[in-house]
Symmetry: C2
Subunit: 224 residues, 2 copies
């Protein structure tokens, strides 16, 4: 795909957005010889970083696995799906386990540093977030909440990739515990949720030409 040059304050057109969202699909077969150029990959990593999360708490980590031996091990923990080794890039999406008050402290410190505001002025906001993460135990599952935030990042990432003309396949068909172990994630306090394999579709990937299957818009979008 060619690159366009948009001027600042221009947006893409609705037609163009839909063209890109229709272009994307869950790539079943990647061309293993094609690698994503460094500037494009760095942009996709930045898209992950820029993803929104509730309160801005970013309860996530993204593992970009290049090591061939590790990717083979991960493939064995993913029903041997070929995308794990054939795609140009592999990102493992993980959530922070048991998010707690010290994570809130860390975030509030970051807020104070970046925005150059005194920590004390953020105390009300901090206490509100501490109250939120401490809801755990009263039927509120902080890990399920953190996992949902990670999926916002997944949506941001997949949409960003499509806009840049990069193919991807999000995958949940894997053993999260094995992933945690292979990537040494447990001791860091994170847990695997899913992966995105990213690169370029093989010329003969039959999945590329399949019609997208979506429920009728009138059944999915309700106007009240």
């Amino acid at each position: 795909m060619a690159l366009s040059v948009l001027n600042e304050n221009e947006t893409i057109s609705p037609v163009e957005l839909l063209e890109k969202l229709n272009w994307r699909y869950a790539t079943k077969k990647f061309d293993p010889t094609k690698k994503i150029p460094s500037d494009i990959w760095k942009t996709l990593e930045k898209a992950l970083i820029l993803s929104p999360s509730s309160f801005g708490l970013q309860p996530w980590k993204f593992f970009v696995v290049s090591d061939t031996a590790l990717r083979k091990k991960l493939q064995a923990a993913s029903w041997n799906q070929p995308q794990i080794v054939d795609a140009s890039h592999l990102v493992v999406f993980a959530h922070k386990k048991g998010l707690n008050a010290s994570d809130v402290d860390h975030f509030v410190q970051s807020l104070s540093d970046v925005r150059k505001v005194p920590l004390a002025s953020l105390d009300g906001y901090k206490q509100m977030m501490v109250g939120f993460v401490n809801k755990a135990g009263s039927g509120f599952d902080i890990n399920a909440w953190a996992a949902r935030q990670v999926y916002i990042a997944l949506g941001t990432f997949l949409t960003s990739a499509a806009l840049l003309g990069i193919d991807a396949c999000p995958m949940e068909g894997l053993d999260p515990d094995q992933y945690d172990q292979i990537l040494g994630m447990t001791k860091q306090g994170y847990h695997t949720l899913c992966v995105a394999t990213v690169g370029y579709r093989a010329a003969d990937d039959q999945a590329a030409s399949l019609t997208k299957v979506r429920f009728d818009q009138n059944d999915v979008v309700v106007h009240i």
Copy 2:
């Protein structure tokens, strides 16, 4: 913002994508006089429809609430946050509760219809998915899984809005049970997760000029 015209097979540039992702922020104050044009809104609804989900099962519904009285009720169930009534559009994101074999049937029928393949040929795929949704009870929480899928759609939606120059504020600060009741969602088998308020930032929204707070990229993206 002006519209650009991209030719087919062009993508946006990495710089442009990041410019848009940096431009977006959680809008605290919308201009209540500015409404999203119909063609742009229809595009955002289509972005929701086109969002990926695991297996393509789309365990979601999106409630677009225009009714003023309903929006006031929802505001009362959302800590009285003004965006609920001031934004041009309000979307409530909900997941299907207790997804089961009949939902899989519905999806497989849709797959058969759209791709014009015999139902019988999809039986292996269907049984695999039925096995997946029936994992519930063995420590697997199908509702938590469905909720995560909805957050992919949230990420897709927020990124799409930013690309189109539309402001948004995703919000979890609401009472999901009250939302379910106000919108008559329970009897339809859905449960509220979060909302996105969408429209145009007020000229004096101070949140627009705040520096984005993100953890250091080296702490969030791990290269292995």
